[in-house]
């Protein structure tokens, strides 16, 4: 099945460089899964699903500015879009039902425990905002604590209300002291008091942040299999065929993007660029 057009219903404005796009499409989704959006003439990129409201999807996108000698980026082109415009969604080749969802979800990999920590770095909050709602909706009375960090408070603004609705506790860290704790979100992990109860940590942010967060949780006694990371990678085929998205031998587009720390920890330090050349992430 080929790519299908999908109308943008509404746009949510976060900061200058963060916007949500609410799409005229929906299907049962697990936080962590992503859609593949194509803008003809620009590019085709993966985006984590961040909203699932009344059966309609939404994605939250951070605009990445292109370098002077380069072409306009996909996210820049998306910021030119208005409600009523189309993006094209690419279906998942795994699914005979023509699902537009790719990859696995957080809760596929590790169901919520009694106590759950959601740790978001920057735009990593996008899939975690959906996860908070998902755990809430399970009615398991699972405890959800959220830690969110960003360069500036304006970048997390679009997520705060959503986390407040579904989490029991919310801690904030900013690089520039615009709100909450002045420092890294991973510092907040050290300030938690861990109980005997089984804790699951769900983390999403850049590789350095996820590795630091995982190490902190492990140091506090959370087993590596209970630290769940949502990774990303440069993707080309979205079908597990080309190997371009590979990290430590796993193909992120089909084996992930969600992995537990014990499985992916050796893959965080390296990824591949467009040529397939291995590059260090941190």
């Amino acid at each position: 099945m080929l790519a299908r057009p999908c109308k943008i219903l509404e746009i949510g404005y976060g900061s200058d460089d963060i916007r949500s796009f609410h799409l005229n499409y929906g299907e049962p989704v697990k936080a962590g899964q992503f859609v593949v959006a194509w803008l003809p003439g620009v590019s085709e990129n993966p985006f984590s699903v961040s909203y699932n409201n009344n059966g309609k999807f939404g994605i939250t996108v951070k605009r990445m500015h292109h370098k002077p000698c380069e072409e306009k980026t996909m996210t820049e082109a998306m910021f030119d879009l208005r409600p009523g415009d189309n993006v094209f969604l690419k279906p998942n080749p795994r699914s005979k039902e023509h699902s537009m969802l790719h990859g696995n979800g957080f809760l596929d990999v590790r169901p919520p425990g009694k106590i759950n920590y959601l740790v978001a770095g920057g735009i990593g909050a996008a899939p975690l905002a959906l996860l908070a709602k998902e755990i809430d909706d399970t009615n398991l009375n699972a405890d959800v604590s959220v830690m969110i960090g960003a360069a500036d408070f304006k970048e997390m603004d679009i997520f705060i209300g959503r986390f407040n609705r579904h989490a029991h506790a919310l801690w904030i860290a900013t690089d520039n002291d615009s709100a909450g704790y002045h420092g890294f979100v991973t510092d907040l992990i050290g300030k938690l008091s861990f109980s005997e109860e089984e804790s699951i940590a769900y983390v999403c942010g850049n590789d350095a942040m996820m590795d630091a967060a995982a190490k902190k949780f492990v140091a506090h006694g959370v087993p590596e299999e209970n630290v769940v990371l949502c990774t990303e990678s440069y993707m080309k085929c979205y079908a597990g065929l080309c190997g371009g998205c590979e990290r430590d031998g796993w193909r992120v587009c089909v084996d992930g993007p969600v992995f537990t720390y014990d499985v992916i920890k050796n893959g965080l330090r390296e990824k591949r660029d467009a040529c397939g050349t291995r590059i260090k992430t941190f």
């Binding site: 080929l2 790519a3 998942n92 065929l241 590979e246 089909v254």
Partner: protein, 310 residues
């Protein structure tokens, strides 16, 4: 499974099943794939190459068939060799897609000097996703003279087993295969993808891929063509080793390729959408089918080979 083994270039390959070039691509990915008898790495150019901007692949036909215009993105032959050394496979094939005879010489030298293990060198003169004006890939494989020139050169640069991968798009495939064999090829890989264009009716007939000329067709839609070409080449050449590929997605389809005259087979598109666990299960099931269920109904691969040799 002894009944699935083949003697290829003096080595006993078991099973006679590998991945198609460009599938999984890198040694580290292949290190997690279990059950293949031989592996082929991504077709490499001398220098790193990013390929085309996405979308570079589209599935259709209920995902049975695939169109790709990756444009052979690769980190360069040296990086491929280094990774192969780091994550070794027992029978690795290095696939090369040179832009010139000079590049071919340099690439072969890198493989010979730096690869700790090299089962064979594959010359890709059939990739359809070249850029305009490039003297590489399919632009060579559709021309008998150029084919002869490149294969002769490769032959002079290496004593390693030399496999030549051919395109189904050649006007007269037997003529091009002739040139390959006369120029010194030790084996043939039949076939590469078929160059076609595909437009999306849901998008005002816009081409589905970034590359405006279209891409290479693989999977279901390639099966009959691949089988036919293997059959016809085998009819003419009784003993040249042939690795058959094109739309193999089951033990039975693999068997048909062996029946048509292939010595070994490779699988590509059939792996689409599968996690590592699922790929390994798929290979395991296919080998079980090919090694146990199918011989029970149709006879074994060895019987096919024996019949052919009479």
């Amino acid at each position: 499974m002894a009944r699935l083994c083949v003697e290829l270039f003096g080595e006993r390959i078991e099973p006679a099943v590998g991945n198609a070039s460009g599938i999984f691509s890198y040694a580290r990915v292949l290190s997690r794939i279990k059950g293949l008898g031989f592996v082929t790495y991504k077709s490499a150019s001398l220098n790193a190459r990013p390929g085309f901007v996405a979308p570079t692949i589209a599935e259709f036909d209920d995902f049975g068939s695939c169109l790709n215009a990756m444009g052979y993105p690769n980190p360069g032959i040296e990086a491929i060799v280094e990774e192969a050394n780091e994550y070794p496979a027992r029978y690795p094939i290095f696939s090369l897609i040179p832009g010139s005879i000079d590049e071919l010489e340099q690439m072969i030298e890198i493989v010979e000097k730096k690869a700790k293990c090299c089962f064979a060198i594959k010359l890709n003169i059939s990739c359809p996703n070249t850029m305009e004006g490039e003297k590489s890939g399919i632009n060579i494989g559709t021309d008998s003279k150029l084919t002869r020139e490149f294969v002769e050169a490769a032959r002079s640069f290496t004593k390693k087993p030399l496999i030549v991968k051919h395109t189904p798009a050649a006007k007269n495939i037997l003529e091009v295969v002739d040139a390959s064999i006369e120029a010194g090829a030790d084996g043939l890989a039949l076939i590469n993808t078929m160059p076609v264009q595909l437009k999306n009716p849901h998008m005002y007939d816009m081409p589905v891929l970034t590359r405006k000329e279209g891409g290479g067709l693989s999977g279901e839609a390639l099966y009959e063509t691949g089988l036919d070409i293997v059959r016809r080449v085998r009819q003419k050449y009784k003993s040249i080793p042939i690795i058959g590929m094109g739309g193999i997605d089951s033990g039975l389809r693999a068997y048909r390729y062996f029946e048509a005259g292939a010595d070994a087979i490779a699988i590509g598109t059939a792996f689409r959408g599968k996690s590592t666990l699922e790929v390994n299960e798929f290979i395991s099931t296919l080998l079980l089918d090919l090694g146990e269920n199918i011989p029970f109904r149709y006879g074994s691969i060895e019987e096919l080979r024996r019949k052919r040799q009479c």
